[in-house]
Amino acid sequence: MTDKFVRALGWASLALGAVQLAAPRAVTRLCGVDDTPGATTVARLVGGRELLHAALLLGARNPARWAWTRVAGDTMDLGVLGKAAANRTGARRIRALAALGAVAGITALDVACARGGTAKARGPLQVRASIVINKPREEVYRFWRDLENLPSFMVHLDSVRAINQRRSRWKAKGPIVDLEWEAEIIEDRAGDLIAWRSVPGVGVSTDGLVGFTDGPGGRGTVVDVSLEYGAPGRKLAAAVARMFGEHPEQQVRDDLRRLKQVMETGEVVRSEGSPEGHRALRQLRQRPAQPIGGRA
């Protein structure tokens, strides 16, 4: 819908640009500025600019955001026409005001269109990742089902305490304040899947689903994780991710790498370049590959 509208604006730009280039004098007369020397040159330049808008709006694969270039052009036109109207009287002033009104209308359309095209998608933030772990399905499931194990590979979690079979209390290190929330398991099929969600009204809203299936050729287990951050949690998650310099999707992938290391080798693998183990943030700012020294 938006795209069709944007393309229509593109065609309008093309038509207007063509007219301004072909008959600049007619345009200046229409706007009431034909008394100024150089007005036709301005009209031609504006015509060229319109063709540029047309090229962007008609040529781009995702044209909506280019509608902002039209908004910028409109602002310029409004300024020029406003000044023209203020400096004139009589019929010319009326024509300039009419043109100003027309451009203002077009500006409103352009703004609406550009905003529609660049507004963030609504709904919860979803991330998905999977990995193959060289351990039987039952074992991987059991490790995950003991939710208190999660912080051993999810570095952003401080602790998870089981309150009872279904309920658990989660703590996460926040950039400014620590976060705490309760979650409950809403589906639990031994060796198959675990689904959980945060208890409503605790400020944080996350849903999670982890599935376990046999690996290719019956070797190992494919672990498939989907997480969903609801509206309040979503902003928070994005903020936290930014503070840590990590995208939520990257975090989940890194978590799974560490889970694989913990399951297959017993712990998170560390190097002197990445002493905390696999973590996207650290990969941008490596320590040199030499012993660490100081504290053990």
């Binding site: 193959v132 060289n134 070797r219 190992g220 990257q250 992938r253 890194d254 790498r257 694989k260 290391q261 297959e264 080798t265 017993g266 712990e267 693998v269 560390r270 190097s271 002197e272 370049g273 990445s274 002493p275 183990g277 696999h278 996207a280 990969q283 490596q286 320590r287 040199p288 590959a289 030499q290 012993p291 660490i292 020294g293 100081g294 053990a296």
Partner: protein, 389 residues
């Protein structure tokens, strides 16, 4: 402790760095008794391997004595004498179970970096860039060795360091290069590069039953060395290699070709050398793939091109047409050293081969930067340097 530290392109320094400490329960600390400079270290020094960082300790060929073990190490004890394979491998993942140790799925804590460059990540390697883990290397007095009960092989005192040190890399690497050729009796194997790895590849090709081995290089002293294995030699500055190999094989070409040179090859025609050298200097390609191109052109129809020389990134003008139309097989990989340490140790013990034949220089670790100069510039007939801390 003292360590050989990379401080920028063509800048190495012996520096005082902290002693290593246990970071994972399955680590051991090894006091290095012998370490070596590898041809592939030169790619790091020359700055052609991405993600090397100022302050990195180099070296991936080393052996020594275990002085500390983590709580999770089962069958390795303080006092054990070990040779350490250069790829770090967990022994428990799918790749390790398949014997593909140099692509272990767990030993690279910077797998994310490697994935961006290579699609999937290989294993961690000692002292060989951050995309391969960010692990300090063995050109030092002490090294932390992860998964100490998987990789390191225990060696009794009766064999001196010089006979077993090269189990860490170049002997298994040369051997795997020959093994990938699937050598059958009567076959002829051509090897580009008469450096230590080429020399081991030649010796291994004979061990595996090759009839003839032809080695190509341009340094007479290296060609003389490799002749001792029984190989014939070609100096590419004196003959046209493709013509010579055709002549020597009745027009058919060698049954298999081994590239033991890799990304910094040379070419006798100045214009052709300049073409790739310029692109490499401008980082438009990371390799100078003359050997790879020539090995592919030389190989007989249906033969194997076995690549053990190190490549880092992208190759230009790759003759895929001849690979496809002539049914060639390309086999390659960083050596899965852990697969070969035990059987090759048996061959050494059995007297089939004495790997110390490659050594030309023995120097203290404190002279490592100078040793790199000798090795890089082929001065003083430098073939292989062993350093002792």
């Amino acid at each position: 402790m003292k360590a050989n530290v990379w401080m920028g392109r063509n800048r190495l320094e012996i520096q005082d760095v902290p002693d290593p400490q246990i970071l994972n329960a399955r680590d051991a600390i090894v006091r290095v008794t012998s370490t070596a400079i590898c041809g592939s270290d030169l790619h790091l020094v020359d700055g052609y391997i991405p993600t090397v960082k100022k302050g990195d300790v180099l070296g991936h060929e080393f052996m020594g004595e275990v002085v500390e073990v983590g709580s999770g190490v089962r069958d390795l004890h303080v006092g054990d004498r070990v040779v350490v394979p250069f790829p770090i491998a967990c022994g428990a993942c799918f790749a390790c179970e398949e014997g593909l140790y140099s692509v272990c799925e767990n030993s690279n804590p910077n797998a994310g970096i490697a994935e961006k460059l290579m699609g999937h990540a290989p294993a961690g390697i000692f002292g060989y860039s951050h995309m391969l883990g960010g692990f300090p290397g063995g050109q030092a007095e002490y090294v932390r060795v992860p998964f100490a009960d998987v990789g390191p092989i225990k060696v009794e005192d009766d064999l001196p360091d010089e006979k077993v040190l090269f189990l860490s890399d170049i002997f298994p690497t040369g051997f795997m290069g020959a093994e990938m050729c699937d050598i059958k009796p009567g076959q002829t194997i051509a090897i580009w590069g008469a450096g230590p790895v080429g020399q081991f590849a030649a010796a291994s090709a004979f061990l595996l039953g090759a009839d003839r081995v032809i080695v190509i290089d341009r340094f007479p002293y290296r060609l003389r060395r490799v002749q001792r294995t029984g190989a014939e030699v070609l100096n590419y500055e004196e003959v046209n290699v493709l013509d010579a190999l055709r002549d020597m094989t009745g027009g058919r070409g060698p049954d298999a070709c081994i590239d033991a040179v890799g990304m910094e090859a040379h070419h006798p025609t100045p214009a052709i050398y300049a073409y790739d050298r310029t692109k490499q200097a401008a980082r438009l390609e990371t390799e100078r793939p003359y050997v790879l191109r020539e090995a592919i052109m030389a190989c007989r129809n249906g033969g194997v091109v076995s690549v053990i020389g190190v490549y880092g990134g992208f190759v230009d003008k790759f003759p895929m047409g001849t690979v496809m139309n002539r049914s060639l097989t390309i086999r390659t990989g960083q050596c899965h050293v852990q697969r070969y340490t035990e059987p090759l140790l048996q061959r050494i013990r059995g007297g089939e081969i004495d790997p110390s034949f490659v050594i030309s220089h023995r120097m203290p670790l404190s002279e490592a930067p100078h040793a790199f100069e000798l090795f890089k510039n082929k001065q003083d007939e430098c073939n292989k340097v062993v350093l002792t801390p």
